[in-house]
C-alpha cells in the first residue's frame, strides 16, 4: 500500500486498497450499532410484555436495526471492503477504473451514515425498514424524511461502487485475462454490481416520492386521496428484492475462493458457477412481488411471481452443489475461513430452502409477517452473508495487512458464532409457524420459552462477533508476518507481496493459466526453487 503517511493522505487517497480499509473501519462501526439495536430487541423479547421499552420505541429499534444492517452494513460489506481491495488485483490492474469516484463513494457512505445516525438520535424512525405507505407518508411523525435522505445518499455510494467494478472488469483486465480465467469472486461481484447499477436508482426515486408526499401532503401512495399504496411497494421491492442478491452474491464469491483454496482443488463446474451468478442477477429482477402476496396484487401476479421465485432458487442451488463437489476428494483443511465457509454452506442452504416454502404463495400467506420470515432472512443474511464476510476478512487479512490472525482463537470464535447463531434463529422458525407475528414488542406467553432460547443464543452470538474485533486488531501489531501466499492459493493477489505495492504490480502481468490452477502453482514453486 502507499507509503504516504498522515491523515490527509488517507482522506484524499485514490488507492483502492486504502479506500477498502476506510470502508472496513466504517462498516464495522455501523455493524456494532446495528448489533447493539439487535441486542435491545432480544432483551425486550425475553418477556411477553413490553416492559423494557414502550411499543413505539420498540418499533424504532427494529426499524433502525434493519436500516443500519441492510444499507450500512450488508450492502457495502464485501464489495466495498474486500471487493475494492482485491478486484483490481484479481483482474491484473493497478487500480479501479475510476479512483476518484471510488473515494467519492466512501464519502457519500460516511455522509449518509452521519445523517442516518442523526435521524436515529433525534427521534428515530418507526416505519420498519420497508417504509410502507401510507403509514410512512401520512400516519407517523418520526424522522422519515431524514432517514429517507440518508438511504438515498447511501444508494449513490452503492451505485458508484458497482459502476466502478463493471467498468474495471470489462476494460482493465490484463493481457491473457479472459472472462473465463477470472476468479469466481470477480464474477459474483460483477453480477452484484449490475444489480447495484440498475436497481438502486429505483429505490432512490421511491424515497424521493415518499419525501415529496410527506412534504406536499398529497396522495400518491395514500388510498384515501386516490393513490395506491401498492405502487409504493412495487417500486420499493423492485430494488429491495435485487438488494438481497446484491448482499449475498459477493458473499458467494468469497465462498468460491475459500472452498477452492482450503480443499486445494479447482472449483467444480467453473462455468456453471459463473453463469449462475449472472442468472441470479437477471432473474432477481423478475421476482419482487413475492413480498406482496398478501397485499392485494392480482391472482395472475401471484402465480407468475411465485413461479419465477422458485426458478431463482435454482442457480443458488447449483452453486451449493458445485461447492460441495469441489470439496469431494479435495485436500481439506480447517482454517478459520474454511470453518466460516462450512457454516455458510449449511446455514445458507437452510435459509434458501425456507425461501422456497415462502415462494409458494399458499404457504406464504400463512407464514408471511411472522417470525418464519425473520428466521428465513437471518439464516441467509447472517448465517450466510455475514459468515461469508467473516470468511473473506480472515482469508484476505494476511494480504491486506501483511499479518496473520491468531488461528486458534479465531476458530473458536467461528464455532461460537455458529452455535450462537443456531440457538438464536432456529427457534424463530418454530415461533413463526406457531404464529408469532414479527415487529411486535409483545407476544402471547406460550411463546416465551422459545424467545428466551433465542435471546440466550443472541448473547453467545454477540461474543462470537466481538472476538474478531479484538484479535484482528491485536494481530495488526502482534500477528505473525504473513508473507505473500500463506494459504498457497492461486489468484494474482497471492503472487504479489503482502500488503501489495501502491500500484499492485511492478509491471502489468500476463495471465497464461486458468483460474484455480494448482498445478501451475506447484510449477511456480519448483521454478523458484530451481532458480534459488
Amino acid at each position: 500500500m502507499s507509503k504516504e503517511k498522515g491523515l490527509l493522505s488517507w482522506l484524499l487517497t485514490g488507492d483502492h486498497k486504502r479506500i477498502a480499509m476506510l470502508y472496513l473501519i466504517s462498516i464495522t462501526f455501523f455493524f456494532f450499532i446495528g448489533g447493539a439495536l439487535a441486542g435491545l430487541i432480544r432483551l425486550e423479547l425475553l418477556t411477553p410484555q413490553s416492559d423494557l421499552m414502550a411499543t413505539d420505541t420498540y418499533n424504532k429499534v427494529f426499524s433502525m436495526h434493519g436500516i443500519i444492517m441492510i444499507f450500512f452494513f450488508l450492502v457495502p460489506s464485501v464489495p466495498a471492503t474486500i471487493g475494492n481491495f482485491v478486484i483490481p488485483i484479481m483482474v491484473g490492474a493497478k487500480d479501479l477504473a475510476l479512483p476518484k469516484v471510488n473515494l467519492l463513494s466512501w464519502y457519500l457512505y460516511v455522509a449518509a451514515g452521519i445523517l442516518g445516525l442523526y435521524a436515529m438520535m433525534t427521534g428515530g424512525v418507526d416505519t420498519g425498514w420497508t417504509f410502507t405507505t401510507p403509514l410512512s407518508t401520512h400516519y407517523l411523525n418520526t424522522n422519515v424524511v431524514t432517514t429517507g435522505l440518508a438511504i438515498f445518499i447511501a444508494g449513490f455510494s452503492s451505485i458508484f461502487t458497482g459502476l466502478n467494478f463493471i467498468v474495471t472488469i470489462h476494460k482493465m483486465r490484463c493481457p491473457g485475462m479472459t472472462w473465463f480465467r477470472l476468479p469466481l469472486f470477480v464474477w459474483s461481484n460483477y453480477a452484484a454490481s449490475i444489480l447495484m447499477v440498475l436497481g438502486t436508482p429505483v429505490l432512490a426515486i421511491t424515497l424521493v416520492l415518499v419525501v415529496l408526499e410527506r412534504v406536499a401532503g398529497i396522495g400518491v401512495f395514500d388510498p384515501a386521496k386516490g393513490g395506491d399504496p401498492l405502487l409504493f411497494q412495487h417500486l420499493f421491492w423492485f430494488y429491495s428484492h435485487p438488494a438481497v442478491y446484491i448482499m449475498i452474491l459477493p458473499g458467494m464469491g468469497v465462498i468460491s475462493e475459500t472452498v477452492s483454496t482450503f480443499s486445494r482443488k479447482r472449483v467444480f463446474g467453473y462455468t456453471a458457477v459463473a453463469f449462475s451468478s449472472v442468472a441470479i442477477a437477471v432473474f432477481g429482477f423478475f421476482v419482487w412481488a413475492h413480498h406482496m402476496f398478501i397485499m392485494g396484487i392480482s391472482n395472475y401476479s401471484m402465480l407468475v411471481f411465485s413461479l419465477l421465485t422458485m426458478l431463482v432458487a435454482v442457480p443458488s442451488a447449483i452453486k451449493i452443489f458445485n461447492w460441495a463437489f469441489t470439496l469431494y476428494k479435495g485436500s481439506i483443511t480447517f482454517e478459520t475461513p474454511m470453518l466460516y465457509s462450512f457454516g455458510f454452506m449449511g446455514l445458507f442452504t437452510i435459509g434458501g430452502l425456507t425461501g422456497v416454502f415462502l415462494a409458494s404463495s399458499g404457504t406464504d400467506i400463512h407464514l408471511t409477517e411472522t417470525y418464519f420470515i425473520v428466521a428465513h432472512f437471518h439464516f441467509v443474511m447472517v448465517g450466510g452473508m455475514l459468515m461469508a464476510f467473516l470468511a473473506g476478512v480472515h482469508f484476505w487479512w494476511p494480504k491486506m495487512t501483511g499479518r496473520m490472525y491468531p488461528e486458534k482463537i479465531s476458530q473458536l470464535a467461528a464455532l461460537i458464532t455458529f452455535i450462537g447463531f443456531n440457538f438464536t434463529f432456529f427457534p424463530q422458525f418454530i415461533l413463526g409457524t406457531l404464529g408469532m407475528p414479527r415487529r411486535y414488542a409483545t407476544y402471547p406467553p406460550e411463546f416465551q420459552v422459545l424467545n428466551v432460547f433465542s435471546t440466550a443464543g443472541a448473547t453467545i452470538l454477540g461474543v462470537g462477533y466481538l472476538l474478531p474485533i479484538l484479535y484482528l486488531t491485536w494481530s495488526l501489531k502482534y500477528g505473525e508476518i504473513a508473507g505473500d501466499n500463506p494459504w498457497q492459493a492461486t489468484g494474482l493477489e497471492w503472487q504479489i507481496q503482502s500488503p501489495p505495492l501502491t500500484e499492485n504490480f511492478p509491471s502489468i502481468p500476463i495471465m497464461d493459466h486458468e483460474a484455480y490452477d494448482y498445478e501451475w502453482l506447484e510449477g511456480q514453486k519448483e521454478k523458484v526453487a530451481s532458480v534459488g
Partner: protein, 112 residues
C-alpha cells in the same frame, strides 16, 4: 505469469477507438427529422384515434429516441458492449414498467 511483450498489448490497441467521426451533415438531417416528428406528434394529438392516440404518441417518441441514441449519441458507430449496455437499460426499464403494470391490468380478472 511471463514478462509482458509488445504483442500482448496488441489486443488493447485493437480495441482502440476506430473513432468514427460522425459528419455534420448527418447531424443536420437528424435534427430536421426530429423537428418534423415533433410537429407530427403535436398534430396527431388533435386527431381522434381512440386507442391509437397514446400508441402513436409513444411510437413517435420512441422513434425520436432511437434517432438521438443512434446518431447523436454515436451508438450506431459504437462497440457491441455499448449497444448491449443500452439494451440492458431499456430491458430493465421495460421489466419495471411492464411487470408492475401487469399487476394492475390483471386485477380486474378478479379471484379465479
Amino acid at each position: 505469469m511471463s514478462a509482458p511483450h509488445d504483442k500482448d498489448f496488441e489486443s488493447i490497441e485493437q480495441h482502440e477507438h476506430e473513432h468514427h467521426i460522425v459528419s455534420p451533415r448527418i447531424y443536420l438531417t437528424i435534427v430536421c427529422v426530429l423537428l418534423i416528428m415533433t410537429g407530427l406528434t403535436v398534430a396527431a394529438s388533435y386527431v381522434e384515434m381512440g386507442i391509437f392516440n397514446p400508441i402513436v404518441a409513444l411510437a413517435i417518441a420512441a422513434f425520436k429516441m432511437i434517432l438521438v441514441v443512434l446518431f447523436f449519441m454515436h451508438v450506431k458507430y459504437s462497440t457491441k458492449l455499448t449497444k448491449l449496455t443500452v439494451g440492458a437499460g431499456v430491458f430493465t426499464f421495460l421489466i419495471l414498467v411492464g411487470m408492475t403494470l401487469s399487476d394492475y391490468w390483471t386485477r380486474a380478472w378478479g379471484r379465479w
